[in-house]
């Protein structure tokens, strides 16, 4: 407990301290150092809570504004908090190197101030035990992340992204406000949000009569919209593909790897605390599936690496929501196995996705840092020039696609198995949703594999396509070791996936009695799977050795790529990502809309032709159109004030007469 308090204190003091020094280096050292130290401090109680739920609650005796605010870490909080702190700490270390070249262009204070605030706020969101405190942390998180996104605000696109994010998160927070201020609201929500307790800080009922209980469904819907918009739930998550690429890469890593999860966390809390009804699960599965498929389809139409990663975050958020939906159905139909596995899958996938997506964003960041180029089709052949970045990025890509032997596979296995069990249960209302979830899962896995093999291949393999990729430099050590650390975590998450799942089930046990026994078979399945992973590694090593032995005795020459008789191969004839993903993107044309700009060769002597992925976000376009419409209609009403004092007096008279009529009628 004392350590947790220190963690928060370190974050906050670090935030302020980063503002003080004049020198850039000192400020960034303080800021990053505070973030890392705070994470280290917070990890201890969080890790303890993974094994045994912490009994303590850190309670702040707060004067009137907020009343009592208390923190506590139980299993669920810990499941979210441990990866969050690890990622935030590593991203901070990376960010120090990443922002180093901005010395002289800006002060280091602001970025690190907001970064530490964000760290504290996220920690608070995961541990708050009081609705008002949750709100406070939530808003602080939204604000600090906004300012971090807008760090390079000289760029118009960044400002636009920030604006979209701010509006979206504000509208989402409005629902949370209601959720947290409902009469008798508690966090985590108490079943039967009911008779009004305490109107304001001093707990006096404020002279209000008790009210009828709020239906749990309303609470769920509020949570779904409020938290879902942060989790990137379609169509509320339109801000996500805009904001994540706009932020500096270490921030993108935190946003995608951690902040999205706060939305999942909130929904999970509600599902665990309230008795779900079947339609909750159906809604979650429908929306989650849509989010996942839309997200993965979006990855195919992107020209920029970071945008691709952002869309993939949306996909994975969808997969987590699928898990939550299955879990909710399991609880609703009283099928504890499905409940345990569904929620468990969501938790495990949350952990894995956090690690892999952060790793990928850090990799994309160092590509941007080394080449200054965002578009994939300008890059190529970076693996030779940035070996560490390339290798770690490959690991991340394998993980994000849910391929064995990395952790990503474990979570997809659990999710698929959960859906399979739900499908096989003789329970009408559970089977079709499970089938849908399963289909969405498999579809996403395949498409993600396509997208990321293409992205990795185009960016890091082959020959440089453009000058940008010619003279590049590998990331400095400060940026390299966080990537290496995350990349080292990836296979560990695969090999120790049974433990991760067990931890998740352990965390769920209080809400779902006997969760651990119910999931035991799946844990053992994962254990067997890890054996096969071992076999895989062994075989691979053996084969590579064999290959080496064989080749060592033969003559091995190098030459140009076999170009099928094409006389003068240039780097520009290589397949670009746009063309790589185009056929698959065409299959999902209906979802993503026009996925690219195709200039066909024309005429006897065709000039340059080409295909560039320029997928537009239909959801965003829809929202913008709607808002623009409302905006225009409202602006038309500005005529109400045209400056004539006569008319103004008339307003007064009219109001007077109207109110009199109302009052005296």
């Amino acid at each position: 407990m004392i350590l947790f308090a220190c963690c928060l204190a370190v974050f906050l003091t670090g935030a302020l301290a980063a503002l003080l020094p004049r020198s850039y280096r000192a400020a960034s050292a303080i800021g990053a150092g505070a973030a890392m130290l705070g994470c280290a401090l917070g990890l201890v109680p969080a890790a303890q809570a993974l094994i045994t739920p912490q009994e303590w609650a850190l309670t702040l005796a707060w004067p009137p504004p907020f009343g009592l605010g208390s923190f506590a870490i139980d299993g669920v909080s810990a499941m979210f908090l441990v990866p969050a702190l690890v990622l935030i700490g590593l991203a901070a270390a990376y960010g120090r190197g990443y922002l180093a070249d901005q010395e002289g262009r800006r002060k280091a204070g602001a970025p690190w101030f907001f970064y530490n605030i964000l760290a504290a706020a996220i920690t608070g969101v995961f541990t708050a035990r009081d609705p008002l405190l949750l709100l406070l942390c939530w808003e602080a998180m939204a604000l600090s992340s906004y300012f971090l996104i807008c760090l390079e605000d000289a760029d118009g696109a960044v400002r636009r992204a920030g604006r979209i994010y701010l509006v979206a998160s504000n509208l989402g927070a409005a629902f949370l406000l209601v959720l947290c201020l409902l009469p008798g609201a508690a966090w985590p929500p108490a079943p039967g949000v009911a008779a009004f307790t305490g109107g304001f800080a001093d707990g006096s009922t404020g002279g209000f009569a008790a009210l009828p209980a709020i239906p749990a469904g309303a609470v769920f819907l509020l949570a779904l919209v409020g938290f879902g918009s942060k989790a990137g739930l379609a169509p509320l998550g339109v801000w996500l593909p805009e904001a994540h690429p706009a932020a500096p890469s270490h921030v993108s890593a935190v946003l995608s790897g951690v902040m999205i999860k706060t939305g999942v966390y909130g929904i999970l809390r509600v599902l665990l605390a309230l008795p779900p009804q079947p339609w909750w699960g159906w809604t979650l599965i429908a929306l989650g599936g849509a989010t996942a498929v839309l997200g993965v389809a979006g990855t195919l139409g992107q020209g920029e690496l970071k945008r691709l990663l952002a869309w993939s975050s949306m996909e994975n958020a969808g997969l987590m929501l699928l898990g939550l939906g299955l879990g909710a159905l399991g609880r609703a139909f009283n099928e504890p196995v499905v409940a345990a596995l569904g929620f468990g899958a969501a938790l495990v996938h949350m952990v894995n996705h956090g690690v892999f997506k952060s790793l990928l964003f850090l990799g994309a960041g160092s590509v941007l840092h080394g080449t200054g180029e965002r578009r994939m089709d300008k890059l190529g052949g970076l693996l030779g020039r940035m070996p560490v970045t390339g290798a770690t990025f490959l690991v991340g890509a394998l993980g994000i696609c849910g391929l064995p032997p990395l952790g990503g596979f474990a979570s997809e296995l659990v999710l698929g198995l959960c859906a399979l069990k739900g499908l096989l249960l003789p329970q009408v209302g559970l089977d079709i949703p499970s089938l849908a979830a399963l289909a969405a899962l498999i579809l996403c896995a395949g498409m993600a594999a396509a997208a990321f093999s293409g992205a990795f291949g185009v960016v890091f393999l082959g020959a440089p396509r453009d000058a940008a990729a010619q003279n590049v430099h590998e990331a400095p050590a400060a940026m390299r070791w966080p990537m290496l650390a995350l990349a080292a975590l990836a296979p560990l998450l695969g090999i120790f996936s049974p433990f991760v799942l067990r931890a998740a089930l352990h965390a769920l046990a209080p809400a779902i009695p006997g969760a651990e026994e119910l999931g035991a078979s799946t844990v053992s399945a994962l254990t067997t799977a890890t054996l096969i992973f071992g076999l895989l590694f062994a075989l691979l090593g053996g084969l590579l050795l064999l290959r080496g032995r064989l080749l060592s005795r033969r003559d091995v020459r190098t030459g140009p790529t076999w170009d099928c008789g094409y006389a003068a191969p240039t780097a520009r004839i290589q397949y670009t990502y746009s063309s790589f993903a185009q056929p698959l993107a065409e299959m999902f044309h209906a979802l993503t809309g026009p996925t690219g700009v195709l200039t066909r060769p024309w005429g006897l002597f065709p000039a340059r032709a080409g295909h560039a992925a320029e997928s537009e976000d239909r959801m965003l376009r829809g929202f913008l159109a709607l808002f623009g419409f409302i905006d225009a209609k409202l602006e038309a009403m500005h005529r109400l004030q045209q400056g004539q004092v006569h008319v103004y007096v008339l307003y007064i008279a009219a109001t007077l007469v109207a109110l009199l009529a109302w009052g005296l009628w």
Partner: protein
């Protein structure tokens, strides 16, 4: 089960694996022989693939200057994945070396991994042709994988089991009598998947030499020597593994006695080779589909699996 029984089971599984490892190149020979017969030719010897493998393993290699270590990783990883998949698959209803609930996902995942690395290896050469091939491979894999998993799910729905061994172990005559149509649909779907995964007509033509029309072959244009050997052998192994699944599905000979075990294995091998013959017949009686039609074919396979599931769920 008791330790002895386990040892017996493990030993049997190892033996079945060994059979697969040894016999799988023969499948290609059989197919070629069947095609030759249909073409009225003598055809190459049945063991041709073994000769080629031996030759390739003895050859050196020429590596493109643009390639990196990924290029060498691809074929080896592909083969390693194939070997692991073989360890999962039952033969003739008798369990493979490993079996656990949900191993069907691992089964698919292993092939997906191999595909991923092969495709990246292709992209590593920087050749536009190989990029094209990789793109197509990844594209067609999406519906193929979906069809495969949904087929497995249909089977598990039909048998109430969660593992390949369990599923294929329970597919006896009674099961066929119970839900024959479903199993037939699933078998058809899996057959199409097998054609696609092993690059046979009508999806892909291993013998063509026009790169524009190739899918898998064009990805491996630059590979030679041991790498190519790994790839060819991996292809044969893949055909064996998927064939084992299909054979186990269509030949409902099950039993627990030692004799039955042996019989089942034999039936499985026979089934696989029968499948090779069928493939040969298909290849010699059909032409390759236009590339644009391939996705439709695979989506059709998915539809078949889905239909089977719906039939079960009603």
């Amino acid at each position: 089960m008791s330790a002895a029984a386990f040892d017996m089971g493990a030993l049997g599984a190892l033996l079945r694996m060994a059979a697969g490892l040894a016999l799988c190149p023969l499948l290609l020979g059989v197919i070629n022989r069947v095609k030759a017969k249909f073409a009225g030719r003598q055809g190459q010897p049945l063991l041709q693939t073994y000769y080629e493998l031996a030759k390739l393993l003895r050859k050196g290699a020429v590596f493109s200057t643009t390639t990196s270590w990924i290029f060498g990783l691809g074929p080896a990883a592909g083969l390693a994945c194939g070997l692991c998949a073989l360890a999962l698959v039952p033969l003739g209803g008798q369990p493979g070396l490993f079996s656990f609930e949900g191993d069907l996902f691992l089964f698919a995942g292993l092939y997906s991994l191999g595909r991923f690395l092969t495709a990246t290896a292709a992209l590593d050469t920087g050749s536009s042709f190989e990029g094209m091939g990789a793109s197509r491979e990844m594209q067609f894999a999406v519906p193929a994988e979906l069809a495969l998993i949904l087929g497995f799910v249909a089977l598990s729905q039909a048998t109430g089991e969660y593992s390949l061994a369990g599923i294929l172990g329970r597919l006896d005559l009674a099961r066929w009598q119970a839900c024959g149509p479903v199993l037939a649909l699933t078998a058809a779907a899996l057959f199409l998947v097998l054609l696609a995964e092993t690059c046979r007509i009508p999806v892909d033509d291993p013998n063509t030499h026009l790169e524009l029309t190739m899918i898998h072959e064009v990805m491996v244009l630059d590979h030679g020597g041991p790498d190519l050997a790994f790839i060819v052998y991996g292809q044969a192994l893949k055909m064996w593994t998927l064939g084992a699944v299909l054979a186990g599905l269509v030949i409902p000979a099950r039993g627990d006695g030692a004799a039955d075990v042996l019989l089942g294995a034999v039936w499985g091998v026979v089934g696989i080779f029968g499948l090779a013959v069928v493939i040969g017949i298909v290849e010699s009686s059909m032409a390759r589909l236009r590339l644009l039609l391939v996705p439709r074919l695979l989506v059709g396979a998915t539809a078949l699996s889905g239909l089977a599931l719906i039939l079960l769920l009603r």
